[in-house]
Every structure is written in structure tokens, then in C-alpha cells.
């Protein structure tokens, strides 16, 4: 997706924040369906990726649903499960929050699949006035992250080879203690690499004045139009609920 990453991040943040105060079941379900459609058609997220992400989100949504269903009491009693009464108000709020979880997760998948982290940092520097030192530092840190798996293998092998009781060819130790020391060594290695990276960036003149950008990320009128369209759709869903009478806010939680 060629949508400017800064504008995209800001738009999706507002679009996600919009449901925070919504407690009726209809609005988040509609938004979830719209987000799924947008991910498939506009974001060109592969259907398999989206499906797998949704399945992973079902655990979250299911837990949010059951805890709200059983820990709330409001409205007519619909059923009695053991010592707990399931009420209509609780069912509405539980459905709403479960659908909200699915909606937020879908937006998150859309963001991860369609956003190149490097392009986002360049764009944040260009368009959101994030200082050059910060954006370069994050980009460099992202590279450090890519090197950590190799570092992890090296640390694990090195620790195993120094263990005198280990038989040759035995698998790497998997005890919590062995893994814990390896994790700590990895953190130490990351901090060390941070210092080397800082020296390298400094020797390339970072932090000594204004910077130019080689591969600029464009910010066009279309980006803003797309943001307005997305926010317009979200506002439309909320307004429809208001006019239709099914939108409800946090007042429903304590009613």
C-alpha cells in the first residue's frame, strides 16, 4: 500500500481509539467487518494470513467475552450457569468488547503487513518531526534485532561447549537456568552492540547538524483524502448507531 505510513499510523490510531467508549455490540461488529474488508481489498493482506491472525485473536476475544459475561450483572436474567446469573446487559457488553478485540487485532494485522518499518521511520522523521537521531537510532536498533538470532545461536553454542559435563554432540541444554543465562548474555550483547552502533553513527556525522534524506517518502493530497475517507467511514458508523439508537457509551457499564 502506497499510503503514507505516518498518515496511516495516525489514522488507524484515531480509528482504533474511536471504539474505546462504545459498549453496544453492533458498532464494533460493523467496524470489524469493515476492517476485515479493507485489509483484504485495500491492504491486499493474504486471506490465509488474515485468517490465522483472526484465529489467534479468538482466544483473546473469547476470554474478554466470558469474563465480562460472568463478572457483570445488569438487566434481565437470561440463564443461570451454576452459581452465576447471565444477564442481558452483560451479554451486550461482553459481545461488544469481544468484537472490539477482533476489530483492534485486525487493524493491527493490516498495519504490520502493509508497513515497512524503515519507511515508517523515514516518514516519521520527514512528516512528524521526529528528530533525526531518534529515527536513525531506531533504524539501527532494528538492524541489531535482525542480528540477534545469530547472536543467540552463538551464545547458546558457546555456553554449551564450555560445559565440562556435556557429552559431545548432545543437544543444547534447555533448562530454565541455561536459557536464563543465555537471555541475559543476549541482553549484554545487545547493549554492547548499541554502543558500537552509536560510535559508528557518530563517526558518520549523525547528530552534528541537519540531515538530508536519500529516499524520501512522498506525502500527497491522496494520503490525506484516504485518511479523511477512513475517518469518515468510522464517524459514519458511529453516527448511524446514534441516529438508529443502538449506540451506547460507558454509562451502560455502571447502569
Amino acid at each position: 500500500m502506497a499510503w503514507n505510513p505516518t498518515v496511516k499510523l495516525g489514522t488507524l490510531l484515531v480509528a482504533s481509539g474511536a471504539v474505546l467508549l462504545v459498549t453496544d455490540p453492533v458498532t464494533p461488529v460493523v467496524l470489524w467487518l469493515l476492517a476485515t474488508g479493507a485489509a483484504l481489498l485495500l491492504g491486499r493482506v493474504p486471506a490465509g494470513t488474515l485468517l490465522r491472525a483472526q484465529l489467534a485473536l479468538v482466544a483473546f476475544a473469547g476470554s474478554v467475552f466470558s469474563s465480562n459475561l460472568l463478572l457483570r450483572h445488569d438487566g434481565d436474567v437470561l440463564a443461570v450457569v451454576g452459581p452465576v446469573e447471565v444477564t442481558s446487559g452483560a451479554l451486550a457488553v461482553a459481545t461488544s468488547f469481544a468484537a472490539r478485540t477482533l476489530y483492534l487485532g485486525t487493524v493491527s494485522v493490516l498495519l504490520v503487513v502493509t508497513t515497512d518499518p524503515a519507511r515508517l521511520m523515514v516518514s516519521l522523521h520527514q512528516h512528524a518531526r521526529v528528530p533525526a537521531t531518534t529515527s536513525y537510532a531506531v533504524l539501527a536498533a532494528h538492524r541489531v534485532l535482525e542480528l540477534l538470532p545469530a547472536e543467540w545461536e552463538a551464545i547458546r553454542s558457546a555456553q554449551a561447549v564450555r560445559d565440562p559435563r556435556r557429552a559431545a554432540g548432545a543437544p543444547l541444554p534447555r533448562s530454565p537456568r541455561a536459557l536464563g543465562t543465555a537471555v541475559f548474555a543476549l541482553l549484554v550483547a545487545a547493549v554492547r552492540r548499541a554502543e558500537r552502533t552509536a560510535i559508528a553513527l557518530e563517526s558518520r556525522g549523525l547528530g552534528s547538524g541537519p540531515r538530508t534524506t536519500a529516499h524520501k517518502v512522498p506525502l500527497r493530497a491522496g494520503d490525506v483524502v484516504a485518511a479523511a475517507a477512513v475517518l469518515g467511514v468510522v464517524a459514519g458508523v458511529l453516527l448511524a448507531g446514534w441516529w438508529g439508537g443502538w449506540l451506547s457509551g460507558p454509562a451502560a457499564l455502571t447502569a
Partner: protein
């Protein structure tokens, strides 16, 4: 220590508390035994080293948060209707980078920035089940953890301050979650808050200081404010 020792800070405006184990400092073999003075002398911008370390911590802990997300899902399922407790039990694990960054960099705003960056990495690089609002959570959690250090005017770095940081982080986070996750009107509201406070004190405040001290002993932090303060 007790939270009230915060009030006594104005009388003791001097340096942070003495380091615990100066002898154990180099027993892990730091690369090179004399790079420190040269490096210190020629740093024109004290900000860059700190910023890069902040970013690396954010990226590493963004990954840790993502791992916590993966533990969180099964824990939610296992706890069933009491899934809200999974939030409370693991709550501190998502806040550990803020006090750690403050421990190392001792700079106002470091905790807040580290937490927001880590949330951003969790969101953009790994994918977060909480959606883009995780940036707001990061802001709130970072602010909560940093509050304790602001109250002591960034002058006290003992166990007490870090424990207090866990308490403030829990209080601010729970206030936000009450608003954002709609906890209002649920049963067991205060009990969950108590669990979250314990989690934040142990997994966020005290764990961050323990981790920071362990890092300090290896010598990798010698060029950062915490190492120079010793």
C-alpha cells in the same frame, strides 16, 4: 524502604546512592580495559549514545512484550472467566523497560520514551493483539512508571524508588484500563488492582533494578550515566 521517604529528598540533594558492588565490576571481561576515558572525552553530543541505547532497549523489549503477548493468550484461556486476572498477573511484564531505561540513563523522559518506542516496535514489527492503541498504553505505562522518579526529582535510585515506581505504574495503568477496557461495573475490581500492584512492583520496578544492577556488573554500562555516576 517506605514511600514516604520521597518527602525527604530536598534535604539530600546530593549524588545518587553509592554503588553496591564496585569490586565485582569487571569480572566478566569487558572488551578492552582502557577505552573509557578516550570515549568520554570525545563525545560531542551526549545525547546520541543514550538515544541509541534507548532504541536498542526498546527494540529488544518490544520483542519481550511480544513474547508476553504470546504467554498472555493461553493464560487468558486457562483462566477462563477470570481472564481479567491475566492482565493483572502479567501487567508488570509490559512495563519493565521504562524503569530499566531510567536506571541506566537517569534522564527525565527516558522511561516514557523507551516504553512508547517499545510499544511501537511491538505494534509495527511484531504485531500486537491490542492494535494501534498499544501506543497509548505505552505512553500511559511509561508515564506511570516515570511518575515515581519525577516525585523524587530523579535523585533517588534505590530499591524503594523502584518499588514505588511499580506502584505508580500500576495505579496509572489501572486507571487507564478502567477507562479503555471498560472495567467499570465488573466484580472483583479492587482485588484485580491489588494483583496488578504486586505484579508491577515485582515484574516492573524491582526486576528492572535487579536487571540493571546485573548489567552494571558486566561493565557494559560504564559509558552510560549509571556507570559514570559510580
Amino acid at each position: 524502604m517506605h514511600p514516604t521517604d520521597v518527602d525527604r529528598t530536598p534535604e539530600t540533594p546530593e549524588t545518587p546512592e553509592p554503588a553496591e558492588t564496585p569490586d565485582a565490576r569487571r569480572d566478566h571481561g569487558t572488551p578492552g580495559d582502557r577505552p573509557v576515558p578516550a570515549l568520554r572525552a570525545r563525545r560531542p553530543r551526549p545525547g546520541l549514545h543514550d538515544t541509541v541505547l534507548l532504541a536498542v532497549l526498546a527494540v529488544v523489549f518490544g520483542f519481550v512484550f511480544w513474547v508476553a503477548d504470546q504467554v498472555y493468550g493461553p493464560l487468558l484461556l486457562a483462566l477462563g472467566p477470570f481472564g481479567g486476572f491475566a492482565d493483572a498477573v502479567l501487567g508488570g511484564a509490559w512495563i519493565v523497560v521504562a524503569p530499566l531505561a531510567l536506571f541506566i540513563l537517569r534522564r527525565p523522559g527516558a522511561g516514557l520514551l523507551a516504553e512508547v518506542l517499545a510499544a511501537g516496535v511491538e505494534l509495527v514489527v511484531f504485531g500486537s493483539p491490542f492494535g494501534p492503541m498499544v501506543l497509548v498504553s505505552g505512553l500511559v505505562q511509561g508515564a506511570g512508571a516515570e511518575l515515581a522518579f519525577a516525585l523524587t526529582r530523579y535523585r533517588r535510585w534505590g530499591w524503594g524508588t523502584f518499588a514505588l515506581s511499580g506502584v505508580t505504574a500500576a495505579a496509572v495503568t489501572y486507571a487507564y484500563q478502567t477507562f479503555a477496557n471498560g472495567y467499570l461495573g465488573q466484580d472483583l475490581y479492587l482485588l484485580r488492582f491489588a494483583v496488578l500492584v504486586v505484579s508491577c512492583v515485582l515484574l516492573s520496578g524491582l526486576a528492572a533494578r535487579a536487571l540493571g544492577l546485573a548489567l552494571l556488573r558486566t561493565g557494559v554500562l560504564d559509558n552510560y550515566p549509571v556507570g559514570r555516576a559510580r
